[in-house]
Amino acid sequence: MKLRKTQYKKLSDEKLMQLISNANMKAFNELYGRYKQRLLYYFYRMLGSSQEKAQDFLQDIFMKIIDNPESFDTKRKFSTWIFSVAHNMCKNEYRRLEVRKAVTLDEQTDSFADIFNDNQLDLNNFTNQLYNELNKLDEAHRTAFLLKYREGFKIKEISKALNCSEGTVKSRLFYTVKKLSQKMECYRNTCT
C-alpha cells in the first residue's frame, strides 16, 4: 500500500503498526514521531530524571517494535500497549538497580519548602516539588499517576496497561494524590 506522507498522519496507531509489520518505514517514522516525546517524558520521570537512561530506553522500546512487531495484538489499543511495555521495562530496571536513591531527594525537599514561605504559587517550583515527592513513591503508584495526569488515560486503560484491576488503579491514584497533598500542604493551602 503506497501512501503519501500526509496520509500517514491520518492513520491510527494500530493501522500504522499493521503497516510496520509489512516493513513500511514511513509508517514507522510516523509512529516514532507521535510517541518519541511522550515516551521520553515517561522514561525520564520514571527513571530518576536521567536523560541518558531515558534516551536509551526510548531506543530500546522502538527496537523491540522493529524486531518483533507481531507482538502487538492489533485488537488492543496501541497507546496502552506501548505504555505497558514501557512500564515493564522500568520495572526490570528497578529490579536491576534494587535500591532507589531517595536519600538525595529528601535533602532537596527541606530546602525547597523555604522557597514557599510567602505562599506564592510558582508552577515550576511546584512541579519540581511534585516530582521530588513522586520519586519517593514506588513505581506502580508513579506509573498510574503519570498515565492519568500526563497521558490522560482512563482508569480502564491504565488497568490494561499495568495489567491490574480498575480497583487497584483507583486505589493507587487515591493514595498517590493523598500522599502528595499531605507532603505539599503549603501548596494545597494556596489552592483553597
Binding site: 534516551q55 511534585l130 500526563r150 494524590v177 483553597t192
Partner: protein
Amino acid sequence: MKEFDNLLKQAIQNDKLPFDANPAIEIRLQNRFALNAKKHRLFSNSFAGIFQLLFSPNYIGYKAAFVAVVISCGIWFHHSENLTSVTQTTDTVAIYNHSVFDTTSTQAVDSICR
C-alpha cells in the same frame, strides 16, 4: 482537594523536558528497520555456515557426485591434451633447416639434402 487535583494536572501537563530525543536514535532505528525489512541478519562469523555445509554429512551423495564429475573432467582433459601434443612423422621433399653460414672456414655439413 478538587483544586489541588487540577493543580496537579496543570503542573504535569505543562511540564516540558529540558531536552529532545537524540536524532541519532532515529537514524539508528531507521537503519535497523531497513536491515530487518530486507531480512538480512548479521552473524559474528559469516563463513561458519558455508564450512559447516561443506563438511557436514548432509547432501553427501551430491557432494560425492560433484567430486567424481570434477575428477573425471580433469582426467579427460589431461588425456585429450596428450593426444593433441603427439608428434606426427611425415615425409616431405622440401629442405628443412637450410642455414647460411657467414664464415671463412669450411664447415662440415652432415646432411644428405642440398
